[in-house]
Symmetry: C2
DNA sequence: CAGCTGCGTGCAATCGATTTCTGGCCGAAA
DNA sequence: TTTCGGCCAGAAATCGATTGCACGCAGCTG
C-alpha cells in the first residue's frame, strides 16, 4: 500500500502539499494539484484512515449497537439512521449484541477504543456498558430503550400508551381474561408495556386481574410463555405480547396446540411484523414509526456531535394500533 | 481521555513498561505490573485503538458487507460469522449496502482505509468495489454471491441444483405453465437460479417453455413482477421466485388479486422465511444452511488472514427443498 | 575477583497522516 | 532601489501507541 510519502516523491512535492491537495487545497498552485492528483491515480493511493484519525483524533464512523439483528424493528430503524448519517458524511457500522450484556460491553469498548464519532445504542441492559459510554466524551443517543441511569439523548415510542391501547382493544372486543407476555425486568420497553397493560385492566369495571409472563424478547421465549399460559389453571382467552419476535413464538405455539385464533385466543403483538397481513389470521399489532425513529436518533446524534454540551433531549414518538383479524371476536 | 503517558507518570514507570504490562507482559516485574494496573484502574485508562492500529498496521475488526439488512437470510448468516469471529478475537461490524453499488463502494473504501483485518462481502454487483478489494492486500471472502471476476475464497449454496429441485417439484405436482421471477442480471444467484429453473423445464417431455421476469431482489420488485405475470396473456399456473423478499411481494400481490394459492397459483420461493410455516397456505421454500454458511465464511477468513497466499477455496453448501402447502395441488 | 549471561527497564524510532511554523520569492509601495 | 507584506511550499512537530536496541544491575561461573 503506497503512503502519502510515495505520492509526494512521485509528484516531486512534499507530503504536506499532498495532504493539502487532498483536503483543504485552498492555497495550492493548480499545477501542483494536477501533478499530485496524477500521482495519486497512478499509484492507486488511498489515504490511511487510521493515521488520519490518530492525528485528527476523530473519525467518521458511527457505531449502532442493537440488541437483535434478527428483529425487523431494528433493521428498519437502522435504515433511517443510515440515510441521515450518509447525508451528514458518516458511515454506519452495525454491532449486534444479541441481547447479551457481555457482547454489548465488548462492542461499547471497541467503539470507544476506535474513537468512533458517535454511538447509537438500544441497550440490552448492561449497566457496565452504559457507564462506560456515559463516562466517555463520545456522543451517545439511546433508542428504543432507556439507557440504564443514563442522562442522554433518547428516542423512544410511547410504550405505555401503545400497550394500553392494545389491551383496551382486546377488552373492547369482548375478551375477559387477558394475559401479557413481556420481556426482562429492567429493560424499559418490557416494563413500560407491562405498565400500559395493567393500567388498561385496572380501568375496567370491575378491574381485570393481571396475568403476566416474563421471558426474554425472543421467539423461543414467546413460545414457552404461551405454552405455560395454555396449561395454566387460569387459561386466558386473549394475550398481549410485548414484542414481535415473542409474538411469532406465541403464534407458533398456538398453531402447534391447534388453538383457534381469534376464536379461542385473541392476540395482539407490540411491534409491527413485515408479514403481519399475510398470516392467516392476519395479526393485530401496535406499529412503531421505525424509520422515523432512526432518522430522529441520527439527527440528535449529529446535533450532539456539533454541540457536546447542553441538556439531553428525549423524543417520544407515537405508536399506532393496527387492528386486524387476530383480535376480532 | 488519559493516554499511556498519563498512566506511566501515575505509576512511575515508562510508557514502554505500561504497554508491555497491557500486552505481552512476559518480562515485567510483578510489583510493576501491580502498580501499572492500579494506575490504569484509577485513571480509567482505555488504550487508543487508533494509535495501536497505526503502529501495528493491523486491526481486529472485520467488515461484513451485506446487500440487504432487512433480509433474514443475511441476518442469519451474520450470526454464524459473529460466533466464529468472536472466538477468533475479532469484532464484526456490519455494513448495509442496500443493493446499491455506490453504497457498497463507500463501505469497501471505508474498510480499506480503516485497515480492517478482513472483509466478508455479499456483492451487490459493483465491479469497482470488487476491483478495489482484489487490488488491496486485505483478505476477502465472498458469500452468497460470486464476486465479479473475483478469484477469492467463496461460500455459496448450490443455487442451480436448488432451483432445479424447486421447479421439478412444481412440475411433479402437476403444474404446467411455470414462471420464474429472478433478480438482476450479473448477480450470480439470480443467474444460477434461473439456470436451474430452465434446466428443469427443458428436461421435461415435451420441454416446458420458460417464462421469466427479472427484477431487483426486493419485495416491491416481486410484487410488480407477479402483477405483470398475472395480467400477461400467457398467465402461469405456478411461479418459482428466486429470493425470499420477492416471494413475500409475490404473495402479497396474489392476496391483493384474490388469487387462490395453491389452487390457482402454485408458489415456491428460494430462501427460507422465518414465518414460512405460519402463513396460510404455508410456503414451500428452498432453505439454505445460513448459519453454517456464515460459520464457514468466517473460518475461511481466519485461515486466509493466517496464510494470505495460496489458492482460494470455493465451498458449495447444499440447499434443501421444504415442501409445504403453497405448492400442493 | 573478573567477566559473562540474562533479566528488566527506559530511550527513542516508528507507523502515516495533519497542521503549525518557517522561510523564500515575488510584487507593490515608498 | 529598498523594504515590507503576502503567498505558497517544505520542514518538522504531533497524535498515542508498539517495539528494537542499549544499558544497568544482579547472579553465576571460572
Amino acid at each position: 500500500m503506497p503512503t502519502i510519502y510515495d505520492v509526494a516523491r512521485e509528484a516531486g512535492v512534499s507530503a504536506a502539499t499532498v495532504s493539502r491537495v487532498l483536503n483543504g487545497a485552498r492555497t495550492v498552485d493548480p499545477a501542483m494539484v494536477a501533478r499530485v492528483l496524477t500521482a495519486v491515480r497512478e499509484l492507486g493511493y488511498r489515504p490511511n484512515a487510521v493515521a488520519r484519525n490518530l492525528r485528527r483524533s476523530r473519525t467518521t464512523l458511527w457505531a449502532v449497537i442493537i440488541s437483535d439483528i434478527g428483529n425487523p424493528f431494528f433493521t428498519a430503524t437502522v435504515r433511517g439512521i443510515e440515510d441521515v448519517a450518509q447525508q451528514a458524511g458518516y458511515s454506519v457500522v452495525l454491532c449486534n449484541s444479541d441481547e447479551d450484556p457481555a457482547k454489548e460491553e465488548t462492542y461499547v469498548a471497541a467503539a470507544l477504543s476506535e474513537q468512533m464519532a458517535g454511538v447509537i445504542i438500544a441497550s440490552s441492559g448492561s449497566a457496565k456498558a452504559a457507564k462506560s459510554l456515559l463516562d466517555s466524551p463520545i456522543p451517545v443517543v439511546a433508542i428504543d430503550r432507556q439507557l440504564p441511569r443514563g442522562e442522554v439523548d433518547t428516542v423512544v415510542v410511547d410504550n405505555e400508551a401503545g400497550a394500553r391501547t392494545a389491551t383496551r382493544h382486546l377488552l373492547d372486543a369482548g375478551y375477559r381474561r387477558i394475559a401479557c407476555v413481556t420481556g426482562p425486568e429492567g429493560v424499559s420497553t418490557a416494563d413500560l408495556r407491562l405498565r400500559g397493560y395493567t393500567a388498561a385492566l385496572s380501568e375496567q369495571q370491575p378491574p381485570g386481574e393481571p396475568l403476566v409472563a416474563r421471558t426474554d424478547f425472543r421467539e423461543q421465549g414467546g413460545y414457552d410463555a404461551m405454552a405455560a399460559l395454555l396449561s395454566s389453571p387460569e387459561r386466558p382467552d386473549a394475550v398481549f405480547v410485548a414484542n414481535n419476535l415473542m409474538t411469532v413464538g406465541a403464534l407458533r405455539c398456538l398453531a402447534d396446540h391447534e388453538v383457534r385464533v381469534p376464536g379461542e385466543m385473541g392476540v395482539v403483538g407490540f411491534d409491527e411484523i413485515p408479514w403481519a397481513d399475510l398470516v392467516r389470521p392476519s395479526l393485530t399489532t401496535v406499529a412503531q414509526p421505525t424509520y422515523e425513529l432512526g432518522r430522529m436518533a441520527a439527527r440528535l446524534l449529529v446535533d450532539r456531535i456539533a454541540t457536546p454540551a447542553g441538556r439531553p433531549a428525549t423524543v417520544v414518538l407515537p405508536a399506532e394500533l393496527r387492528a386486524r383479524q387476530s383480535s376480532a371476536r
